[in-house]
Every structure is written in C-alpha cells, then in structure tokens.
Amino acid sequence: MVSPCRLVLPGFFFVSVLSVFFPPPAHAQERPYFVAYDHYLEEPGNLEIEYFSTYGTQRGGNNFLAYWVEFEYGATAWWTTEFYLDGQTTFRDSTVFTGFRWENRIRPLKREHFINPVLYVEYETKNGADKIRKEVEGHDVESDFLVSNGEARKEHIHEIELKLILSSTFKGWNFTENTVAAKNLSNSPWEFGYALGASRPLALKASAKRCTFCPQNFIGGVEMYGGLGDRYSFGLRDTSQYLAPVLAWNMPSGWALRISPGFGLNDNSHRFLLRWGVSREITGFGSMVGRLFGGRK
C-alpha cells in the first residue's frame, strides 16, 4: 500500500518547487467549478498546477479522501491539454494510487458568441478504487463505493470520455452546461451525465489598488451534476445527483483557492462531499522549456 504522504506530498512538492524557481506567476482568474467546465482555456504557454481533494461521507462504509494533481497547459489559444494523477485514502482501509487521465479541450470557434462550445476528449486509465468524483455518469451510486480498496483496485478501467461544453457570459455571470458521454473500452455501454454551473465575481470592477481581499478576487456560484444512465436505461433512475455551492479566491500572488461543500440530492448520492483545491499558474512555461532545448531566446 502507498502511504498517504507519498500521494499527497508530491502535489505540494511540485507546486512549491515550481513556484520558487519559476518566473513570475500569472494572476489567476479561475472559475470556482470543480466538476463543470466553462469555455475559457489556459493562456498559451502557461502551465497551471493544481491540487484538489474530495472528502466524502459513506453510509454503510468508511468515509474517504480522494485527491488528484492536475497539470494544465495552454498549448495554443484554442487547445488546452491536461494531465491528472489520482489517488485516495479510505479511512480504516488503505491508501491507493488510482490512475491517470489525459484530457484535451478544444475551442472550435474563432470568436466569442452568446453560447460558446468547447469540445472535450479525455482518456482515463484507472482502477475500480477511483473516488475523486470529477464527474458523475451512468448509474454511479454511493453503494458502488462500499467495496474495499483491495478488491476494487483489481478492476482496471480504460475509459474514453467526451463532453460538449456550452458556456455563456452575461453581465458578469458565467452559465455553463456540460453534457458527458463516457465509454469503458471493455465492452460496456455508453454512459451519460451532465454538469451545470453558474458563477459571478463578487465585484465586476477592478480596484485601483493592489489588494488580496478585494471582492473582485472572489468568485462565487453553484454547480449541479449527476448521472443520466446509459444507452439501455437513459434517465435519472438509479443515478446520483449533487448540488454544490462553489467559491474561488484568486490571489494577486498567483495562487488560487477553491472550496465547495456538495450535497447529495437523492438516496443514491453521497450525503456530503467537501471539495477544496489550491492552484498556481506559471506564465511562459512553454517558452522556458523551449529555451532549455535550444529554442528561440
């Protein structure tokens, strides 16, 4: 078994080391969502390193703490690519590494519209002990998590996940709707899910002075997400559904904090999920790496 420190500390280590040795961070303007995506991509050449946790209650079993590290890179202004490493600790059970994901978001339209589509493609290699709840799809229900880590990790899952992200910004509000279609490549049916989000900065005008606690640095909102069954049984029956207020704090130092208490909306859902995350954006990462390999000065 992997100790919790071996999974949790690398995330902090990466963030800390890169923060110390890399040039000035960008002032992040992160949306507060954990599950939903909006149409804004990472700025080209920037790398954002993020560490997130989900604490979940489990009826009839042990509560858990799942965590993941994300490396989000703006390859171009219309393509963002992201790599995840996931793990979890189930209390009174064990800590396990649960897999990795590679996601890509592509913006097909050149200009801003009232509704802005983004195409999302993700490949996941994980085991059955994965509990990060980064998305809810198909007939994912709370009782799936009763299996012990030792048993669950024997299941290997290779999954493709597609999303259509439709996002709008109106009078400072962001509204986003994500439709999820996921396919376990081991001959399972397509599964579906959704995520909805709305958020707004606490102030729309920027302050004329640098400040850490100015209201424009805080973005509050709410997200709702859940499964929609699979191709044989589409709908809300035997699915889990969640509603979660969200809050992000974008600090001038380049750090961003996010927190979200989530509440299950039906008997199939975890009663409570507490998510939190810390991230830091590093500007010009692509150029720096390019220079290492003899690129343009």
Binding site: A26, A77, K209
Partner: protein, 156 residues
Amino acid sequence: MKAMAAALAVCTSFIGVSVVLAQSQTSDKTPVGAAPKYDPAIYAELQKAPEKARKRANPLQNDPDAVAAGGILFGQHCAECHGDAARGGTKAPSLRAAEVQGATPGAIFWVLTNGVVRKGMPVWSKLPEPQRWQLVRYIKSLGGTVPAGDSPVTKP
C-alpha cells in the same frame, strides 16, 4: 509501479508535444538574436470589429480610477506577452502602435473580448466587462509613439 511509470511517460510526452506546438505557433522566421517583427496584418484585427462594436463608447471614460485599475490588470494578464510597458514582447505586438492608439475604444474592447484565437491571443471575456473597459482606458492612456511594424520586442 507500472501504472506510475506509464503515467510519468505520458506526462513527459504530452508536455513535450505541447511545448513543441506552442513554440511552432509563436515562432517566426527571424534569426536567433535578431528582433522579431510582427506582421502588421495582426493590427487588422481591429478593423474587423463590427461597426456597432466600434462605435461603443467607454462607459468608464470619466472614471478617475479606471486607468490605474487598468494598469494593474494589464500587469496581471497582458504584460507577459505585450511587455511590461506594452511596447511588445516576444509573443505579441506593441499596443503603443498608431493602429492601436488610433482605434476606437469600442474596437479595442471588441478585440479583447473575442481574442485573436488563431494567432495566439486568448479570449478575455473571462474578465468582467467593466474590467475590460478599464484595460481599454489604460491602453488608450499610453499614447502613440511607435509605428506599427516596427514594434520593439524586448521587454523593458
């Protein structure tokens, strides 16, 4: 351990590919050591603003704090590419050029909102509208000193 090794291999590969792509997108034909020049056509984006957008007046035109706030926003979001003094950087052109300074506030706001996605400038509608207008005030306050196509490229 196999999964971890595979994860690290994929991580390394994707960062490598992404960096190569990012480099190729921003690279030009300028020899190493010489100052890269920008295609003056980049400024033509301002001319693509629809008439209605071009005619929009800045609602913060008389806001005494708008330039200072815009300057802070510029430092946080724009200076990385356009240079600390907006004289142009390795990735983006000068905003002191006559084409920018001669453009209407509405046209600059339109470019900020829509980005020039295919040429590397992201969409900035993630900033609330008043903040984009504060940025416009700051950009217009810089005054025109450098002709387009002769953009200084080194960060001050």
